[in-house]
C-alpha cells in the first residue's frame, strides 16, 4: 500500500492568524492524511495558538484528515508538565509524545511517538509498542540500515521525515533571545521575526544551521524524494513533511505523487527545488554519512 503523508507540527512562531490560515489551506488543498498540530518548541508561545486550535482541528477533520496533538519537546517546569498532562488526558484526539513524560502519561492507550523521542533500536520500539504506541516517527539521525531493521521488526507503523529542516537540538536556553541580548523570560517573542528560522552562518558566510528559539535545526531541507520508493519497500507506512515557509501544498502534492509512483524522483526534486527558493537539500543521515550530505540525485541540484 502506498505510504500515507503526515504533516508534522509547525515548529516556528507564526502569527496566530497565519498559523490558522496555513492549516485551513492544508485542510482544503493538501493531499496529506495526518496532520500534527500543537506547540512543540516553546511553552511561551502556546497561549497564542490555543484560541485558534478548535477551529483548526474542526476544519482539518471536516476535510478527512487524522488530527494528532503534538506535545512539548522539553518539559522543565510544573506548568509545562501540567500542560502536557492536559493534552494527554483528553481522549478526543490521538496524541504524539515528544518526551518520555508524555509516553508515560499515555501508557495503556493508543498513541503516537514523535521523532524527538529517542528510538534507535528494536528493544525501545518493542517497549513502546507494549506501552500502547501504534505509530512511531523515527529520529532523523537514523541511517537506512537502522530504518530497515526497525521496519522489519513489524511492531508498529513507522514514519520517516522526508521533507523539511531536521530538528537537531533543543535547549533550555533561547538563542533567538540571546541573539538580541535578551533573556528568555523577557524575550519579546523575537523568534516571530523568522518564520522559517534564523540563519546561522559560519564565519565564512556559509549557511550552516537554523535557529528557532530554543530549537536548532539544519539549514538544509531534508529531501528524501529519491528514497521514497525504498522507504515504502522497507515497510515505512508514513512519510513526514515538516512545515517550512514555502508552498507546503505543492510539497505535499509532490510527495503524494512520489508515493503513488506517479512521478519520477528527478522530476520531483526539480519541482521541490523550484518551490524551495534555493534552500539546499540534504539526505546524508539516511545514507549513513553526515546529515548535511547530499547523495544520489540531490547532488546535481546544487
Amino acid at each position: 500500500m502506498a505510504a500515507r503523508l503526515t504533516l508534522g507540527p509547525v515548529f516556528y512562531n507564526w502569527a496566530p492568524e497565519r498559523w490558522r490560515d496555513f492549516y485551513f489551506r492544508i485542510a482544503d488543498e493538501a493531499p496529506v492524511d495526518v496532520v500534527c498540530v500543537g506547540e512543540v518548541v516553546c511553552s511561551k508561545r502556546q497561549p497564542f495558538l490555543d484560541p485558534m486550535l478548535p477551529e483548526v482541528i474542526e476544519r482539518l477533520q471536516a476535510a478527512g484528515k487524522e488530527v494528532v496533538l503534538a506535545t512539548l519537546a522539553l518539559i522543565m517546569t510544573r506548568r509545562e508538565e501540567e500542560g502536557v498532562r492536559e493534552v494527554c488526558r483528553q481522549t478526543d484526539l490521538p496524541v504524539e509524545a515528544n518526551d518520555f513524560a508524555a509516553v508515560s502519561m499515555l501508557a495503556g492507550r493508543p498513541h503516537v511517538v514523535g521523532p524527538l523521542v529517542n528510538v534507535y533500536n528494536e528493544g525501545t520500539l518493542g517497549y513502546l509498542a507494549r506501552n500502547g504506541a501504534t505509530r512511531v516517527s523515527l529520529p532523523g539521525e537514523l541511517p537506512a540500515r537502522s530504518v530497515g531493521r526497525l521496519a522489519a521488526a513489524g511492531l508498529v507503523d513507522l514514519e520517516v521525515q522526508v521533507f523539511g529542516r531536521m530538528p537537531l537540538a533543543i535547549s533550555a536556553r533561547c538563542y533567538h533571545a540571546r541573539s538580541r541580548n535578551l533573556h528568555k523570560d523577557s524575550c519579546q517573542y523575537v523568534c516571530a521575526d523568522d518564520p522559517d528560522g534564523m540563519d546561522l552562518d559560519t564565519l565564512d558566510g556559509e549557511p550552516f544551521l537554523s535557529v528557532n528559539g530554543t530549537q536548532t535545526l539544519s539549514y538544509t531541507y531534508v529531501n528524501l524524494a529519491a528514497e521514497v520508493a525504498e522507504l515504502q519497500e522497507m515497510g515505512i507506512t508514513h512519510l513526514r513533511l515538516a512545515p517550512q515557509d514555502v508552498d507546503m501544498v505543492g510539497v505535499a502534492r509532490c510527495f503524494r505523487e512520489l508515493a503513488d509512483g506517479a512521478r519520477e524522483a528527478g522530476q520531483a526534486i526539480a519541482r521541490l527545488d523550484a518551490l524551495c527558493d534555493g534552500i539546499p537539500f540534504s539526505n546524508g543521515y539516511f545514507h549513513g554519512i553526515e546529515g548535511v550530505g547530499a547523495k544520489g540525485p540531490l547532488e546535481v541540484v546544487e
Binding site: 519537546a73 522539553l74 518539559i75 522543565m76 517546569t77 509545562e80 508538565e81 498532562r85 518526551d99 518520555f100 513524560a101 508515560s104 524527538l116 529517542n118 534507535y120 533500536n121 528494536e122 528493544g123 525501545t124 520500539l125 517497549y127 513502546l128 529520529p139 539521525e141 537514523l142 540500515r145 537502522s146 526497525l150 531536521m166 537537531l168 537540538a169 533543543i170 535547549s171 533550555a172 536556553r173 533561547c174 538563542y175 533571545a177 540571546r178 541573539s179 538580541r180 533573556h183 523570560d185 546561522l200 552562518d201 559560519t202 564565519l203 558566510g205 556559509e206 544551521l209 535557529v211 536548532t216 539544519s218 546524508g284 543521515y285 549513513g288 553526515e290 546529515g291 548535511v292 550530505g293
Partner: protein
C-alpha cells in the same frame, strides 16, 4: 528534610585517572568500556574488562564505588555490544550501571534485577513524570539531571520523585538537552547517541591563514582566532557564528561549568550526588578538580563556608559559568 553529605562522582577515562580520582577523595568514579557503548568513545580512553576488574579492586579497597556508563543508544539489529556490557557489569560487580536507552533499561531490569541502575543525563529526564516513569518501569534508583534546570526547579523536582538526583557541578558544559542533540552528526556523521562522540577529533582540522588560525569540523568553519587568542577545540556548540549580521558565540562561550560555591544550595535542594565532567581529561585535571570538590563537599556538610577556590587553570577558555542553574542563563 535531612540533608546528607553530598556524594562526589568523578570521571575516570583511564586506569590512571581512576586511581587519581580515588586517591583525591572521590566517593565514586564513573567510566566506560572501550567501545561505542558509552558517550565518551574517544581513542585512548576507557577500560577493557581486565582494567575494569583491576579498577574495581582498587576503588573498593579504598571505599569508593564504580559506576559504569553504558549510555549511548544501541544500534538497531546490533544489541550485542550493549547487552554484553550490561552482563559484564553485573558479572564483574560494578556498583551501578548508568543507562540512557529505554530498551537497554528494560533489558537490564529484566536480566539483572539486582544490578543498580542509574539514568544517564543522555536520557534527558527533566521533569517528575519522566523520572517517575524510569523509576516505575525499570527500577532506576538515581537520575543524572540534564543541564537545563535551575536550582529552584531541582528543589521542586526532588519533592516529587522517589529516586536520588545527581547533578553536574564542574567541567565541560552541554548547552543543548543531552541525548537530544544531533549537531555533531549533522556536520560529521558521528553523534553522542549513536557513536558515543561529539565533534570528534577525526573530523577536526586547524588551518593557518597568515596570522589567523581557523578551526573546522567536517566541512564547516567553527571558529577563527587571531594571534592574541587561545585557539580552543571546535566543539560545535562552542563555535563562533554569524546570525542576523552579528558575530558571536551564539550557543555558548568557550567556558566551563563551575558551581563549587553553590554546594550548600544544591544540598538544600535535596540533591544526592555531584558529578564532575571530564573522562577525556588527564590525571592532573582529575586530581585537582576532585581534591577541590572533596574539600568543598566536606566544608558544606560541616556548615563551613566553601570559600574561594581557584580552578580557572583547568577550565575551558579560563572562563566559568553556573550554566542553567541560574535562570538568567536561559
Amino acid at each position: 528534610m535531612t540533608t546528607q553529605k553530598l556524594e562526589l562522582v568523578c570521571p575516570a577515562g583511564t586506569p590512571a585517572a581512576l586511581r587519581a580520582a580515588v586517591d583525591s577523595g572521590a566517593d565514586a568514579v564513573y567510566l566506560g568500556f572501550r567501545d561505542e557503548t558509552n558517550a565518551r568513545n574517544f581513542p585512548g580512553l576507557n577500560f577493557n574488562r581486565e582494567e575494569l576488574a583491576d579498577g574495581l579492586r582498587y576503588a573498593h579497597q579504598k571505599g569508593a564505588k564504580v559506576l559504569l556508563a553504558i549510555n549511548s543508544f544501541p544500534e538497531a539489529g546490533n544489541p550485542g555490544p550493549w547487552t554484553k556490557a550490561v552482563d559484564d557489569a553485573a558479572r564483574l560487580g560494578v556498583d551501578a550501571v548508568i543507562l540512557a536507552d529505554v530498551g537497554l533499561c528494560d533489558y537490564a531490569a529484566r536480566t539483572h534485577p539486582d544490578l543498580r541502575r542509574h539514568l544517564s543525563v543522555q536520557a534527558s529526564a527533566s521533569n517528575p513524570e519522566a523520572i517517575n516513569f524510569y523509576a516505575r518501569e525499570f527500577g532506576v534508583r538515581r537520575v543524572v539531571l540534564p543541564r537545563v534546570l535551575t536550582v529552584a526547579e531541582i528543589a521542586d523536582l526532588n519533592k516529587s520523585i522517589p529516586v536520588e538526583t545527581e547533578v553536574f557541578v564542574f567541567g565541560g558544559l552541554c548547552v543543548m538537552a543531552e541525548g537530544r542533540c544531533a549537531l555533531s552528526s549533522y556536520a560529521t556523521g558521528k553523534s553522542p547517541n549513536m557513536t558515543g562522540v561529539c565533534s570528534p577529533a577525526s573530523h577536526v582540522r586547524y588551518v593557518e591563514e597568515g596570522d589567523r588560525l581557523t578551526s573546522r569540523l567536517g566541512e564547516f568553519t567553527i571558529n577563527r582566532f587571531d594571534s592574541s587568542e587561545n585557539a580552543g577545540y571546535p566543539t560545535l556548540c562552542k563555535g563562533r557564528f554569524v546570525a542576523a549580521g552579528k558575530t558571536s558565540y551564539l550557543f555558548e562561550d568557550p567556558t566551563s561549568l563551575n558551581v563549587i560555591d553553590m554546594l550548600p544550595d544544591l544540598m538544600a535542594a535535596g540533591v544526592t550526588a555531584l558529578k564532575i565532567e571530564g573522562r577525556q581529561r588527564g590525571r592532573a585535571y582529575v586530581a585537582q578538580a576532585v581534591a577541590a570538590f572533596r574539600e568543598a563537599v566536606d566544608r558544606a556538610a560541616a556548615g563551613i563556608p566553601v570559600g574561594r577556590v581557584d580552578l580557572t587553570s583547568i577550565t575551558e577558555g579560563r572562563r566559568q559559568t553556573a550554566g542553567s542553574y541560574e535562570k538568567a542563563w536561559r
